[in-house]
């Protein structure tokens, strides 16, 4: 082996690019000098990694700082641009057509959605924090894996079927089952499920369930009851869904 190539070979070995790793490892165990050289190279590569990761970390810290201090920027001032008058009769005809269109739109548009419907249309299912979906690694737990995999991809109809098949034993699975129902606007079934979960003891998503029960009631048109519950959650700063409840109230 050409000794001039040795630093490159060590570097490539540590980078994971050396073709014949086994031969190199045999050489390494038989040659103490090579071992020392490799340790120094490893430290040099650590220095590179350490510095670059500090650069990337600073980049993400700046993003984080930006998220914390993001305030609404003042609206840009609109400066009218002087435009040459042109078009004559065409401009008047276009203006008249626009008036007719706008009037027609307001006369013929469908009935507006209620604030409740509008608020629910922005419903975002709870993040899957219960189950790590790993393809090909859940052979002993296919039903749950399928349910959560469908849930993560937003296929709520499939997820609903898969969660239903899991049975009523695990409240966490039931909680996500409820999310699939809300996502598909099946409010009556969601209400029954969350009513049960919201009163469970020794279940760490009880408070979240109370919030989703209120959402289901909102979807069923029981606005007063739902608003009262949502306001109660919003007023309780320690409630895990307090922020979401406040945002929802603003929309209502």
């Amino acid at each position: 082996m050409n000794t001039e190539d040795q630093p490159d070979r060590i570097g490539d070995y540590l980078r994971g690019d050396l073709a014949d790793r086994e031969a190199f490892e045999r050489e390494l165990s038989a040659n103490p000098q090579l071992k020392i050289e490799m340790e120094t190279t490893r430290q040099a590569l650590d220095a590179i990694t350490l510095r670059e990761e500090q650069v990337l970390k600073d980049r993400l810290r700046n993003l984080e700082a930006g998220m914390a201090t993001t305030a609404r920027q003042p609206d840009a001032k609109v400066i009218p641009i002087g435009r040459k008058r042109s078009g004559g009769w065409f401009a008047y005809a276009a203006a008249a057509a626009l008036v007719v269109f706008v009037a027609g739109y307001f006369l013929l548009r469908p009935a507006p959605a209620t604030p409740e419907q509008l608020a629910l249309s922005e419903f975002e299912p709870f993040t899957n924090i219960a189950y790590t979906v790993t393809k090909g690694a859940n052979d002993g737990d296919d039903g749950r894996a399928a349910a959560y995999a469908a849930y993560e991809t937003g296929d709520y109809a499939t997820a609903e079927g898969a969660f239903a098949a899991l049975g009523p034993d695990d409240p966490v699975d039931r909680f996500y089952f409820g999310q699939t129902l809300l996502a598909q606007e099946k409010y009556a079934s969601a209400r029954d499920l969350y009513r049960e979960l919201a009163t469970q003891t020794d279940f760490n998503l009880t408070q979240e369930s109370a919030y989703y029960l209120a959402l289901a009631n909102l979807g069923l048109g029981q606005a007063d009851e739902a608003r009262e519950e949502i306001r109660r959650i919003a007023d309780n700063a320690d409630h895990p869904m307090s922020r979401e409840a406040r945002q929802l109230l603003e929309k209502l």
Partner: protein
């Protein structure tokens, strides 16, 4: 939530060296992770965000180094797994109450290089290695970073640094590495 094909596209772009996409990873998943870590792992907001930053960087490193060649789960699942392990570790260091890790079996975070993390947490080693890297001039720093950290091919580095040929770039890279090794030895 990203679809599988969106995740796959993002994964391939990161693999091809677009490191700036870590911003997107962070912004897309940060809030969900912090909420999760606060509720389920008893982390503070600061610790959760800090650990998630490290998780995004670890994910990037695993992708570009080839340790993670195929995406076997969603990017969010992967990031959460790594972040969770880092929060456990942080909680342990702070002697905070620690929930049990219920997830047995294969875990995407198993690909984390804990020996590297351990080495970096030794303050003396950190400042020594930092000093060595700070003493190394340009373009050596750039060449070595692009090659050994971002895993750029020699041809790209040649163009980035403005060297005349791939051969010249290889030689320069070798000399730069030798220079860095000398600096590391000097600081030990």
């Amino acid at each position: 939530m990203h679809t599988e094909s969106e995740d796959q596209t993002l994964f391939e772009s990161i693999k091809s060296g677009r490191y700036e996409l870590i911003d997107q990873l962070y912004l897309d998943h940060r809030t969900a992770f912090v909420t999760y870590a606060k509720r389920q792992l008893y982390a503070t907001e600061e610790d959760a965000a800090d650990c998630f930053q490290d998780a995004v960087i670890a994910f990037y490193r695993n992708v570009v180094s080839g340790k993670l060649q195929v995406l076997t789960c969603s990017i969010r699942t992967y990031l959460f797994s790594i972040g969770k392990r880092l929060v456990y570790r942080r909680n342990h260091q702070r002697q905070r109450e620690m929930p049990t890790d219920h997830e047995a079996g294969v875990n995407p975070a198993d690909e984390l290089d804990w020996s590297l993390i351990d080495r970096f947490e030794r303050e003396h080693d950190r400042s020594r290695l930092k000093d060595a890297m700070d003493s190394l001039g340009e373009p050596c720093r750039e060449i070595l970073t692009l090659y050994y950290y971002h895993h750029y091919p020699i041809e790209s580095i040649m163009q980035s640094v403005g060297l005349p040929s791939e051969g010249a770039t290889r030689i320069k890279k070798m000399r730069c590495l030798n220079e860095l090794k000398k600096l590391v030895k000097k600081t030990s």
